[in-house]
């Protein structure tokens, strides 16, 4: 009986991923950026989207929370449609906003709110949008700042922080929403090389803790040892997908092989 229930649960979790992207397409004018993309992310997994610059990775990420509107296809969070219903009816702004509070986002250029202190940045959305109690949120925000090692900077404005510190605040800000899913849009691409490590360390920590994450990145080492799954995207389409081990050691497609080769060359 127990055995049976367990199997049923497993089956349920594998057919009910946290995030499903189904046949998503997007063009800017004549340029087809995303072409019939489907991916799904299981709870607690970290999926890295890899691919050359301009391949459509960031656009895909931005379509997930509808910062860009896909032309066709569906995005589902915990089985519920985002942006448009299954019937194709566009959601109103408030309904969309409600779903967005469950998806944390970390931006390439941090996008912190410059008029608020570090602590206020982290508390802003939970208090103002989620309408949670200020004292409670403050306690959690301070806890998060301790975790990313920035508690001593809590009353400082973002302008006074280094890039790595800003991005760690960005991660704490996203976590403060207690999101179901965390999206990272090239979180270390705007950082000086010596600051990349401190941000990746926080992300590794979250991945290990079982946060569900989708990460667009060029950090191959991070993808290799922190990802549960790698999705290789080129020219707006999913070319190859698999475990990091399989992808990095035995890439199947020519394009993935070339991509990895070029990357290896650029490092040596």
């Amino acid at each position: 009986m127990t055995q049976h229930t367990h199997t049923a649960l497993n089956a349920a979790s594998s057919t009910n991923p946290v995030l499903s992207v189904v046949s998503l397409s997007k063009s800017f004018g004549n340029l087809q950026v995303l072409d019939n993309i489907s991916i799904s992310v299981e709870r607690g997994k970290t999926v890295c989207l890899l691919g050359p610059s301009g391949s459509g990775k960031s656009t895909l990420l931005r379509c997930i929370n509808w910062l860009e509107c896909p032309d066709s296809g569906h995005v589902l969070l915990d089985g519920k449609h985002i942006g448009v219903t299954s019937g194709g009816v566009v959601m109103d702004a408030h309904e969309l906003a409600l779903i967005r509070t469950r998806i944390g986002m970390v931006f390439q250029h941090f996008a912190l709110w410059p008029h608020l202190t570090v602590l206020q940045n982290v508390m802003e959305a939970p208090v103002q949008v989620q309408r949670r109690r200020r004292e409670q949120v403050c306690e959690e925000a301070e806890q998060l700042l301790r975790r990313v090692g920035l508690f001593d900077k809590k009353d400082v404005f973002p302008a006074r922080l280094s890039g790595g510190q800003k991005q760690r605040v960005g991660i704490a800000r996203a976590m403060a929403m207690k999101p179901t899913l965390l999206l990272f849009d090239e979180p270390t691409s705007a950082l000086d090389p010596e600051l990349v490590g401190e941000v990746l360390a926080v992300m590794r920590d979250l991945a290990a803790e079982g946060m569900t994450m989708v990460v667009v990145t060029h950090e191959m080492d991070f993808a290799r040892d922190a990802a549960s799954q790698v999705v290789f995207i080129d020219r707006g389409a999913v070319v190859e997908t698999g475990s990091p081990d399989a992808f990095f050691n035995n890439p199947v497609t020519d394009r993935a092989q070339q991509f990895l080769m070029r990357f290896a060359k650029s490092l040596s």
Binding site: N65, L67, A93, H94, A97, L98, R100, T101, I103, M105, F107, H109, F110, A111, L112, W113, P114, H115, L116, E124, A125, Q128, V129, Q130, F157, P158, A159, R160, R173, M177
Partner: protein
């Protein structure tokens, strides 16, 4: 000349009452026009739509009308349409409406120069509508535009002097009364000018404080 100034000193209560009226009027008009201007800027930044066209028409109409004429229109013109204000409220409405067009333009110009990322983060974190504007968009706008807004407030103070023509007992009106009663034009008007300077210096100090707050966020 010393005698002239001692006459003005003897009438200081009239001058102080005029000063108070000017300060109160300017404060109300500055606050009101900043709030209306903020609302107006939300329409002015849009490129299409009825609200955008209407806001643009209002802003242009105000900016191309001499303030004195506009004050006449509110005080003498509107009653023939059945809208009647007393001198005080006619002045307050004229100053507020007129300068909200300028405030709207100032905030619009600052808005389009803001980096888009914090706004996008606002969307991504579930902010919408007025809350998005009030919490995410407006505060950086106020910080960045403080010097220009301060300049506009000074303009409001100076424009309030025109309201003497609708018999509003503000500072210029008070100085004018003193000079016509005692024939001491130089002393009366210089006293008023010095008081206007004092008001403007105070505004400048306020702008300085906001400027330092903005500096720590930059």
């Amino acid at each position: 000349m010393i005698h002239d100034f001692s006459i003005v000193w003897a009438e200081r209560n009239l001058l102080i009452s005029g000063l108070m009226t000017t300060v109160l009027l300017s404060f109300l008009a500055a606050t009101g026009s900043l709030m209306l201007g903020a609302l107006l800027s939300t329409a002015l930044v849009r490129k299409v739509g009825v609200a955008s066209v209407a806001a643009r028409a209002f802003a242009d109409a105000m900016r191309c009308t001499p303030f004195l004429l506009f004050a006449y229109l509110i005080y003498f013109g509107l009653p023939s349409l059945g809208v009647r204000f007393d001198g005080w409220w006619a002045g307050a409405v004229a100053l507020t409406a007129y300068h909200s067009a300028y405030m709207g333009e100032v905030l619009r110009a600052t808005w389009v120069a803001q980096p888009p990322a914090p706004l996008e983060a606002g969307h991504a974190f579930g902010f919408t509508g007025f809350r998005l504007f009030r919490r995410i968009v407006l505060p950086p706008l106020i910080f960045s535009s403080a010097p220009v807004v301060g300049n506009q407030v000074i303009q409001i103070v100076k424009d309030s002097a025109f309201l003497t023509v609708i018999a509003l007992p503000e500072l210029t009106h008070a100085a004018s009364s003193i000079q016509s009663r005692h024939y001491v034009p130089f002393a009366a008007f210089i006293a008023a000018v010095l008081l206007y300077w004092a008001i403007c210096l105070t505004i400048e100090m306020g702008v300085g404080v906001v400027g330092r707050m903005a500096e720590s966020r930059r």
